[in-house]
Symmetry: C2
Subunit: 241 residues, 2 copies
């Protein structure tokens, strides 16, 4: 490394490959609800390391083409799900010397919520159901079991005080369907009257006048999401006792 006299000269001579650097990647935990259970999208690895094993979608930053780290996440998400407009939120970064056999690795993690029917995924992908602790029945590559568990806890936590679960539903839905979605994520029953009061007061959904859905027993009013960011409603407690 030379001693630069000024910034221009320094930058001309700067070469990242003169340094020991970590691997830097992006991983995305994509949630949906299928058959009354929370599922995550996993993909079978085509290359080493962990070739053939299942893992969450992700990969390296394309420094030539990606402008931002979120663009990397959206690109990977689109590659695997064909869908590029989900609820997407950065979750945090995991970095240590041991998580990747290739060496020191940092991964910036995202979590996404999608409706099952918006996804037309590639052959190397499938939905994997989670148990009530956010665990899968099989061991995944890297530390991805832990990653999914952390994302699941974050999802449960946010569902307690925000309207985040809306993003799992289709365009039109009933209040009972919305309540069921919350119950599946939270793993417990909610009080009906209280749930409806809060969700309507939050002003995040709109009644579709004249539109209703036939259920097993009677009709139910349809609603749709309003174009709105994640709203927080700070309830005292969401669970019915």
């Amino acid at each position: 490394m030379s001693m630069a006299a000024n910034e221009k000269e320094f930058l001309k001579n700067y070469n990242i490959h003169d340094y020991d650097v970590p691997l830097t990647s992006v991983d995305i935990v994509i949630f949906t609800i299928i058959d009354d259970r929370v599922n995550v999208l996993i993909t079978q690895r085509a290359d080493f390391p962990f070739k053939g094993k299942w893992a969450t979608p992700g990969g390296f930053i394309d420094v030539k083409n990606d402008q931002t780290i979120e663009a990397t996440a959206i690109r990977k998400l689109k590659e695997k799900t064909g869908f590029d407009a989900p609820y997407l939120e950065q979750m945090g970064s995991i970095g240590n010397a041991k998580r990747d056999p290739r060496g020191w690795s940092v991964t910036v993690t995202y979590f996404a919520l999608v409706n099952e029917h918006n996804v037309t995924f590639a052959d190397d992908c499938c939905w994997c159901p989670l148990d009530e602790n956010g665990e899968t029945s099989t061991k995944l590559a890297f530390d991805h079991n832990l990653l999914i568990k952390e994302a699941f806890l974050r999802l449960q936590n946010k569902a307690q005080y925000s309207t985040i679960a809306l993003h799992v539903l289709p365009e039109k839905f009933t209040l009972s369907e919305l309540q069921q979605t919350y119950e599946i994520i939270l793993g417990g029953k909610l009080n009906k009257a209280g749930f409806r009061r809060r969700i309507l007061k939050a002003n995040v959904i709109e009644k579709l006048e004249g539109e209703s859905k036939q259920t097993a027993t009677r009709t139910a009013q349809l609603y749709r999401k309003l174009d709105q960011e994640d709203v927080h409603f700070y309830m005292r407690e969401i669970y019915a006792r």
Copy 2:
């Protein structure tokens, strides 16, 4: 790049320098309160780029010695403040092609809260006061003005519903001092009776029986923090109207 037949061979031949990779660093926004204002620690850059400019403490991961990314953050914090046990929380990561003149850069950001008297900082550091919007009076290196502003908003947000502000106080403190700390962070007056009720109910501080502090007018009971993680108390609203 060779076609590997198995994982062992693949790993033997793997060399990160065969790829275009981003710079990966850690940045820490360290908050304290001095003279009734929120301050952040800044340090003058010894090297290019931005040599001589002020920036938040941070730097590259030492892949030979750091075991985790948090260890990198703690190492940098200790180097600059001489203090290694503050409240430290990962805030998120910023990554894009433009933020560093050397090239594509990802930084994992942390924010810390310390008591002013726990810090004995190096010559190249100083405290920098923030205005009510979390802005400094001078332009810092990289995107660090933005970084500080985001950290400040996060601090304000967490102060609304958690006991986070405790970490700014010294070992022993009065309830009035604690309330003042919240008021400085939040930028508004709080209701005294309500504040005391909530903070005592949260069960995060302990009355020091028989110990009191002489203030300008009368004595005040001293308290100390209990060994406890950040507690959330979900109040409806912290502000007095």
